[in-house]
């Protein structure tokens, strides 16, 4: 190889040490971990459904579910069991094969997404969150591929298929309209999602989610603030990522997909029984996973101070606390914000978020290079800001001339 960096090729191997050489014990531990995570995810999803209903009812001065179990906490379980006893209707006009396949395409990526999220471990004082299970060192996360962030993007890009095919195969007009909206919306916000994730990769210098958390656990700006992605990227990519993530999830205020006043239930209108339950499960599981991804990329994942007892446990506690903030935020969005109009949604995604995310990425890259070359950070930042404003002005002009094409003069 003739690259000028051949000398620097050997750096440390990344990934879960458990899986460097796989033997029977390692496979056993993997299966155990997967089973535990799977069960916890299902329970967490159940909790999330209950939490959303309960919190919304509190915000709307209602009682909400209160009969099944203490505070109605078992309501979701009861609903879930009921789905099994409901008739499974496959409409006559549906494309049968695709109709059956679509729920799988929605919920399998939802499950897989959680595999790369680190959810515990002690990251204090240079620890890298290692725990020992049955004498083997491993991370508290299912898998740590070197392309963790890309894996997240890949899975969220596969999620489009569930919505798209469900609506198309139903052979009914509301699901079709819902799925066309859903797929265009998810596709539009995915670019913004990727661009803002790239900003975090830029400042942490790694694609592995575990290394990302390790790098964020170190000392941050001025030694007092945490070294979190939200601070290193100067905030903007975080806001973009949260907005784009909400839109990816089709959650309010971006829930045009299932705008019930116009589209009944959106792409899953024709689904019933367990097939509907799987869409529902995928939706709420994605909500939890997306919150976990926010935490991993921008809020330092499970890193945080440990006080007493085992350090890894504090990692789990910090992780859950941080995820909970976003779960609350999602419910709060739903209770507060009115749904956007479709053209507003598209305008926000294409004309604001994507250009801003791209511009911000380039600014951050310039600052990185400036630091490496020991140029004055502020001068480079000022130049970058001027260029950014110039780009925004061009964009505005372009948007205006595009809008003018749609306008026409009429007599009153």
């Amino acid at each position: 190889m003739s690259a000028p960096f051949a000398g620097s090729l050997l750096v440390g191997q990344t990934g879960d040490p458990l899986l460097f050489s796989v033997d029977a014990v390692a496979v056993g531990i993997v299966i155990l971990k997967v089973l535990v995570i799977f069960a916890l995810l299902l329970v967490a999803t159940m909790f999330m459904v209950w939490f959303e209903r309960k919190l919304i009812s509190d915000m709307q001065n209602r009682i909400g579910p209160n009969l099944a179990g203490p505070f109605g906490i078992l309501q979701t379980l009861a609903d879930g069991i009921k789905f099994f006893f409901k008739e499974d209707v496959i409409p006559d006009k549906s494309q049968r094969k695709v109709f059956i396949l679509a729920p799988y395409l929605a919920f399998v990526p939802a499950f897989l997404l959680f595999a790369v999220v680190p959810f515990g471990g002690d990251f204090n004082g240079g620890n890298d969150g290692m725990v020992t299970i049955f004498g083997r060192d491993t991370y508290l996360q299912l898998a740590d591929p070197p392309i963790g962030v890309l894996f997240i993007l890949a899975m969220s890009s596969l999620a489009v298929y569930g919505a798209m095919l469900a609506g198309w195969s139903s052979g009914s007009k509301y699901p079709l309209l819902g799925s066309v909206r859903a797929s265009a919306q998810m596709v539009s916000y995915e670019a913004a999602l990727g661009l803002s994730a790239a900003a975090v990769v830029l400042v942490t210098g790694t694609l592995s989610t575990h290394s990302m958390v390790t790098s964020q656990a170190g000392d941050g700006p001025w030694g007092v603030l945490p070294n979190w992605g939200i601070l290193l990227t100067l905030g903007v990519p975080f806001v973009i990522f949260v907005i784009a993530g909400t839109a990816e999830l089709n959650r309010p205020p971006f829930d045009l997909v299932e705008a019930e006043q116009e589209l009944v239930g959106g792409f899953h209108t024709e689904y019933s029984s367990i097939r509907f339950a799987l869409f529902f499960l995928a939706e709420f599981m994605n909500t939890i996973t997306m919150s976990a991804i926010f935490v991993t990329l921008f809020l330092g994942g499970p890193s945080g101070p440990a006080f007493f007892g085992p350090g890894w446990m504090w990692g789990v506690i910090w992780f859950l606390a941080k995820v909970f903030i976003f779960l609350f935020m999602f419910v709060w969005f739903r209770a507060t914000l009115p749904r956007m109009r479709y053209d507003q949604l598209m305008d926000l995604g294409w004309k604001v978020l994507i250009p801003l995310a791209l511009g911000w990425f380039l600014v951050l890259a310039s600052l990185e290079v400036a630091d490496a070359r020991q140029w004055n950070r502020w001068v480079v930042g000022a130049i970058a800001a001027v260029v950014l404003v110039g780009g925004a002005a061009l964009l505005r002009k372009s948007v205006r001339s595009g809008a003018a094409l749609r306008a026409e003069e009429v007599l009153d």
Partner: protein, 204 residues
Amino acid sequence: METTAVEYVVFALCAVIVLAGAFGVIWFRNPVQAALSLVATLFGVAVLFLNMNAQFLAAVQVIVYTGAIVVLILFVIMLLGVDVEEDLEEEPLVGQRVIALVIAAGVAGLVVAGVTLGGADLVSGARSVTGSIVDDVSNIEQIGRLLFTEYVFALEITAVLLTIAVIAAVVMSRRPSEVEPLPAENASMEPPEPMEPEAEEVFD
């Protein structure tokens, strides 16, 4: 690094998926099902990339090909309303079947010739160039180093290609007149005539 038993098994499984998907693309008459078979093929290829330790390519394969290009294909199928089964009797492009047959035979001949005549250099069982050169370094960093030093010209040419694609898409999809006036406006400009056709019909 030796090819392990696991890698052989993964290869065999993926090969089956890839071939079955490719076969499905041709076999299914419904275009959406054909597109889904294409997804299976692309996914299998992505796992094959992983098998060769080309992690970045695997991710790109899924994100760009399955996540964007097949979505575009599905959009076209669904939005243009061509999602009905094709009539195979009709030949839209005259002579295309003969040409396809000739090309297929030529490609098959090339593959067979390559495998039989190329010798050990071609089919050595070694990792392809897509894999990482040193096993411990992530493949994405190697690609990054090469892309932004030696192959930077290729990168910029890609940008030009993408620009051409966008502009072509806009030009091709634009209507001759920018905004087609709505029928309702026409009615208000011209001398009034009975409202809408529905109003004329009498329902019992």
